[in-house]
């Protein structure tokens, strides 16, 4: 049942897209693309649930030969384990909800059918990526989601900002993809395959063939593959495209740039888990950790509601990377799923707010243009010009106007902030913190202690800026009375997805992650604890107690409380029970404290107004500037690009000379002396100029041929024909 079910899941959205493509080419309009695409997604969702039963303890890949050479075959296939199924459900579920939401949100758009076709294509590509059992398949899906992201960011391509953003997104991620491709070439050259699983898969071969001498090589390959994830998951230093990607319609931001595509990088890293070495793991953990902290600090000072969420996404993705880099495979993927739901909810909620203001926006558009003429030049150049319907400074007090949006967004915020026990985000974040601290204690590794502190800081800041968003948007007095009066709760098609996603932000639905037998981390045969590590004694070997079961949160909470009281139970997913246990307790207490602190400070600043954000900004002007200018990344890249252009120009100038020089030199026809005389001629103009000179010499011939051309072409052709015939006959006679 596995193969037909997965095939069907893939075919549904693909068919929906194909219908659009074919009718589009025939220049026929099909107005009900929205129903078609949504239905396809819902069917795929149902099939994904059916797949839950098909998960077996030791999964096998189902493959077909895709590209066969003489002695190398590239196969395509499906690999279905518990993680695949969970990803399938997350993708199809969020995608279905976003489809439904878009029916309301995008309804008046002139390219409404096209929007749904793109969503379908995206869903297909993402699902393909998820189920692929080999690197080539993952890469194909990987690039296709990139294409969809490009098309959807640039959906309103009449706007120059959108046209720039989609190009930037594609090119930035492609830089990472090239790294990934080089990593694939390294693996392929070593193992002659790109399949990951099975007897001849990379994982088995790597475990059996590589020796300690190959560890540097494997670390490089691992980091290069991770480059793809850096690009796609918007990790530093390739993160700058994601905030700009907010130029796309908000449902797209929710689906692609929050819940699914950007998480593909985390998924890929998790898939590569078995071949991560100590070094590559540490690189991944640091990239993730630093990204989590830096992006969170940038989010504090943003006023565009979508940009706050974008930086929050970058930060949370960093968190997941950190988890996987620190060896907490399950925690990273768990956070991926909880984040997918609450971040999709936050984006759709912000979409609901923007939608409420949208009529206003259209109305105020002319005035806005005038304002811009006087707008702060610097701000304009930096592209931080905020559409008024997304500017939190225009909002406030919306909780009465939009109660459903408010309550659902509040739930998501509580979840992302890590408010304990009843919100899913707490559990996944806690697991990550515990995992990092556990590794630190287990290995006695200073790196992981630093990473733990970074993660903790990021958690506090996250709670702070998320509540800042809630307070600025929904509490207090309306800041823009005119816009406030226009605001209204969104239609049912938009609020229902919000409610569903809000329900998904409670841990009860995420119970699969608490089941140790369901999701198991793969072996990391190449990851060895550093030699200086003092491994904590394994206090309870063979412990089989499953703390948390499928039955839900109550037991999970009970088990966690047990753990808090000091019973020896299995925790985390690493099996190093002693340190993991202590780590878990410490991490949980600390995470609750920083989350509480963050929320409290946010309350003081933005609700109680006991502290003034402005005065703090003035006091710490340099720091504020750093955050406001996003650590000057964009400025730096523009500078580098300009430098590259100059370099390119110089390259052109020197290229012909040196290369032609090399050819002449190497041919060995001419001696050094003759060569020296020739260098003068063979500058870059000669390649072209020589021909022109010869052309002039033969101009006379050209002139004659030209005379033949004009008018007498038939004659000429007959001459050619007769010539050929004569040639054949004459030689035949000879």
């Amino acid at each position: 049942m596995v193969v037909p079910l997965i095939s069907f899941i893939l075919l549904c959205p693909l068919a929906a897209f194909a219908v659009f493509g074919i009718l589009g080419l025939a220049n026929k309009r099909f107005p009900r693309q929205d129903y078609l695409s949504t239905a396809a997604m819902l069917i795929a969702l149902a099939c994904s649930f059916l797949l839950l039963r098909e998960v077996v303890p030791s999964p096998e890949a189902h493959t077909v030969d895709w590209l066969s050479l003489g002695n190398v075959t590239f196969s395509m296939g499906f690999y279905l384990d518990s993680v695949t199924v969970i990803m399938l459900i997350v993708v199809t579920l969020v995608s279905s909800l976003v489809h439904i939401f878009s029916m309301g949100y995008m309804h008046d758009d002139p390219r409404y059918p096209r929007f749904f076709a793109y969503l379908s294509l995206f869903s297909f590509s993402m699902l393909f990526l998820v189920v692929s059992d080999n690197l080539l398949g993952i890469y194909i899906g990987w690039e296709l989601v990139g294409l969809c992201s490009y098309l959807l960011i640039g959906f309103w391509f009449e706007k120059d900002s959108a046209a720039n953003a989609c190009k930037k997104a594609f090119l930035t991620t492609r830089v990472g993809d090239v790294g990934m491709f080089i990593g694939m070439m390294m693996l392929f050259t070593k193992f002659q395959t790109l399949s990951l699983y099975g007897e001849d898969g990379i994982f088995t071969l790597a475990a059996s063939q590589l020796t300690t001498g190959d560890m540097v090589w494997l670390s490089i390959a691992g980091v290069l593959i991770f480059c793809g994830a850096i690009g796609k998951s918007a990790q530093m230093p390739l993160h700058t495209w994601l905030p700009d990607a907010m130029e796309g319609p908000t449902p797209v931001s929710a689906l692609i740039h929050a819940a699914t595509m950007v998480a593909a990088g985390v998924y890929l890293t998790a898939r590569m888990f078995p071949i991560l070495t100590e070094t590559s793991s540490l690189v991944i953990a640091y990239v993730g950790g630093i990204t989590a902290l830096v992006a969170a600090t940038i989010a504090i000072v943003r006023f565009d509601i979508k940009r706050v969420l974008a930086y929050s996404t970058i930060s949370q993705l960093g968190y997941m990377m950190l988890a996987i880099g620190a060896g907490s495979y399950v925690a990273g993927l768990f956070h991926l799923t909880t984040h997918a739901f609450f971040k999709a909810l936050l984006f759709l909620g912000s979409g609901s707010v923007i939608h409420a203001f949208h009529a206003m926006h259209a109305h105020a558009h002319d005035d806005e243009k005038h304002d811009h003429e006087h707008a702060d030049d610097e701000e304009y150049i930096l592209g931080s010009e905020i559409p008024p319907d997304q500017d939190m400074r225009n909002m406030g007090g919306l909780r009465h106007k939009m109660p459903i949006t408010f309550i659902t967004m509040l739930i998501a915020t509580l979840s992302i902030s890590g408010v304990p026990f009843i919100f899913s985000g707490f559990w996944s974040k806690d697991k990550i913190l515990a995992g990092v601290l556990g590794r630190a204690m287990e290995w006695n590794s200073i790196h992981h202690y630093i990473l733990f502190v970074i993660a903790l800081l990021a958690a506090g800041i996250t709670a702070f800026y998320m509540f800042r968003l809630i307070f600025m948007t929904f509490f207090g007095e309306p800041r823009n009375q005119e816009m406030h009066e226009m605001a209204h709760e969104s239609p049912l098609s938009m609020t229902v997805p919000l409610i569903v996603l809000a329900l998904l932000s409670f841990p009860a639905v995420n119970t699969l992650w608490f089941n140790k037998d369901y999701v198991k981390p793969p072996q990391q045969s190449h990851l060895h604890a550093p030699t200086h590590a003092q491994l904590a004694p394994d206090t309870k070997t063979g412990g089989t107690g499953v703390a948390l079961s499928l039955f839900g949160v109550s037991e999970a909470v009970a088990a966690e409380e047990d753990a808090g009281q000091g019973t020896q139970d299995v925790h985390g997913d690493d099996g190093h029970h002693g340190s993991a246990h202590t780590a878990h307790t410490i991490a949980m207490v600390l995470s609750i404290i920083v989350a509480g602190l963050g929320i409290f400070l946010s309350w003081l600043f933005y609700h109680r107004r006991a502290l003034s954000a402005e005065s703090v900004a003035t006091t710490f002007r340099p720091v504020y500037n750093l955050f406001w200018h996003k650590y000057y990344f964009d400025e730096f890249y523009d500078g580098v690009l300009v430098a590259l252009t100059v370099w390119k120009a110089r390259l052109f100038a020197r290229f012909d000379g040196s290369v032609v020089d090399g050819i002449v030199n190497g041919v060995g026809l001419v001696t050094r002396d003759i060569l020296a005389a020739f260098v003068g001629f063979f500058d870059n103009r000669v390649v072209d100029g020589l021909v022109n000179r010869v052309a002039k010499i033969t101009w006379a011939i050209g002139g004659r041929i030209r005379r033949i051309q004009t008018g007498a072409i038939q004659t000429y052709l007959f001459v050619v024909l007769v010539g050929i015939v004569l040639l054949i006959l004459i030689f035949r006679v000879l």
């Binding site: 590209l67 066969s68 296709l144 391509f157 594609f170 290369v659 190497g666 052309a695 038939q714």
Partner: protein, 509 residues
């Protein structure tokens, strides 16, 4: 016999067209279309019935003695590589005729006649098994091409045509010298002449692998390799012999650009595989064994083509010139893949030949569509056409994505395989070549943005959407692009055995 029929039917068509009255232009076009559709049907038949399980040449005609004095024979036959390229040629034939339906204003009769002559030359070239015949067909494409650019081209057509002619002729002369050298040595074993000299390619391949034969001498092979290589390098074109290409493309009418990029460039790479690689494995080894400068030289040329072509393309503002430079970049992947001399490399290179033929044909057709409407090709002179011409924008996006190597479309497969193969032997050069992937994406996306995105340039508010005839020329190519991207084995099946055979020959030295 079937093959001969296929090759000479366009020539017959030329005679028929020349006999038609000058005034009946519609009739001329229809007759031409008919005479290009017949080879297409035959090529499809060839493609279907070709026995994919063997490496040997099939559908022989000959050897029939032709010029006895020099033991020159009429000998044609196809292996998987030839069939693939014959199919491409035969497919582009009718597409180009349809593309020329409206926009050739003068002398349509002569134009069509020359086009048919060109097609015979191209088809014959890919099927020839006698080195002399091979050369005759190679030169036969030169004349019609010269006139097609020189008469129906743009403002600087004469300059471009002569440049093209001289460049190719320069290469052909070296090739001719090398060919004669091969012929003269073809009967010398251990310094003693025995038997007849020959131009027969299969025979020469066997002789070149025979111990003690003059053709098997490694120094001899290196020199002859160079002679042929320069001849083909001009056609590919390989840096620094590439400067004829942008000029020829810019001046040539749309359909001729399509043939130029789609087929003529492939004649160069096909020659490299058919003659340089198969006949002179020791010469090849000298330039691709990865040791020292010479051992890396072919891969280096591939790398230069990729990066140089891509950066040049990035700097262009003429839409057609941009596509022309992108061709140079893409042919670099072919060279890189061939230099790797392994399974993925050679297969990737051959796939890249075919796919580039299809994709660049699409690109030039698309440029033509725009030029016919706006009468200029200045990229910065457009803007926002996406709102005005959604279908045209969609097809262009598809072609661009295929060309920049988006997986799922055919361009990716050849490119990726070439790189995978090349990495095995030329790690450093291959990693550097991946710069081309990023730059390739950059110039296409930037062009997409400048032409189609943003606000609509008010000058083009009345621009009409792509019409049915133009879509008809593009759809078969678009289908092929998607089909081979999803199902690359469809093409690889054709030449897998030939490639294995070639690799065996290369490893036998």
């Amino acid at each position: 016999m079937l093959l001969s029929l296929m090759i000479f039917i366009p020539l017959l068509g030329m005679i028929v067209v020349l006999l038609l009255p000058r005034e009946s232009e519609e009739l001329v076009k229809r007759v031409t279309l008919l005479f290009t559709l017949i080879p297409l049907a035959l090529a499809v038949y060839l493609f279907i019935t070709y026995d994919r399980s063997t490496a040997g040449t099939q559908f022989f005609h000959g050897p029939v003695p032709w010029i006895d004095a020099f033991n020159i024979q009429y000998h044609i036959g196809v292996d998987g590589l030839s069939v693939t390229l014959l199919l491409l040629t035969a497919l582009l034939g009718p597409i180009c005729v349809i593309a020329s339906w409206r926009n050739i204003e003068k002398g349509i009769k002569a134009y069509m006649a020359l086009f048919l002559l060109l097609e015979t030359g191209m088809l014959g070239f890919f099927a020839a098994l006698d080195l002399f015949l091979f050369y005759v067909f190679f030169e036969l494409t030169l004349l019609p091409m010269y006139f097609l650019i020189g008469i129906w081209g743009g403002p600087r057509r004469e300059y471009a045509a002569i440049k093209f002619f001289l460049y190719t002729l320069f290469g052909s002369v070296l090739m001719l010298v090398a060919m004669i050298a091969v012929y003269l040595n073809s009967n010398i074993v251990n310094g003693v002449a025995e038997g007849l000299r020959t131009f027969d390619i299969p025979t020469l391949i066997t002789l070149a692998a025979t111990q003690g034969h003059a053709l098997a001498d490694s120094d001899f092979q290196i020199w002859v390799f160079l002679g042929f290589f320069i001849g083909f390098a001009v056609k590919v074109p390989i840096f620094p012999f590439h400067t004829w290409l942008p000029d020829a493309h810019v001046e040539a009418p749309t359909a001729i650009s399509v043939i130029l990029a789609g087929i003529l460039l492939k004649m160069g790479t096909y020659g490299l595989v058919r003659v340089n690689m198969a006949m002179f494995p020791q010469g090849l080894d000298h330039f691709t064994n990865g040791i020292g400068f010479w051992g890396n030289s072919l891969a280096l040329l591939g790398f230069i083509n990729i990066v140089y072509g891509s950066f040049c393309a990035l700097a262009q503002t003429d839409f057609k010139k941009l596509v022309a430079y992108s061709s140079i970049g893409h042919m670099g992947f072919v060279i890189l893949g061939l230099a790797a001399r392994n399974d993925p490399g050679i297969t990737g290179a051959i796939l890249q030949m075919f796919n580039h033929g299809v994709i660049s044909a699409m690109l030039f057709l698309l440029v033509g569509v725009l030029y016919d409407r706006a009468h200029h090709r200045e990229i910065n002179g457009f803007g926002g056409l996406g709102t005005r011409m959604p279908i045209y924008t969609g097809i262009t996006t598809l072609a661009f994505m295929a060309s920049l190597g988006l997986p799922g479309l055919s361009g990716f497969v050849g490119e990726a395989l070439s790189l995978l193969g090349a990495y095995d032997k030329f790690k450093f050069l291959t990693i550097l070549s991946t710069i081309g992937i990023v730059v390739g994406a950059a110039y296409f996306l930037w062009t997409l943005q400048r032409v189609f995105l943003g606000t609509l340039n008010p000058k083009y508010e009345a621009l009409s959407e792509i019409n049915g005839r133009e879509i008809l020329t593009l759809v078969p190519l678009a289908i092929l692009t998607v089909l081979l991207g999803v199902w690359p084995n469809l093409a690889i099946d054709m030449f897998r055995e030939s490639v294995t055979n070639l690799i065996n020959v290369l490893h036998a030295i």
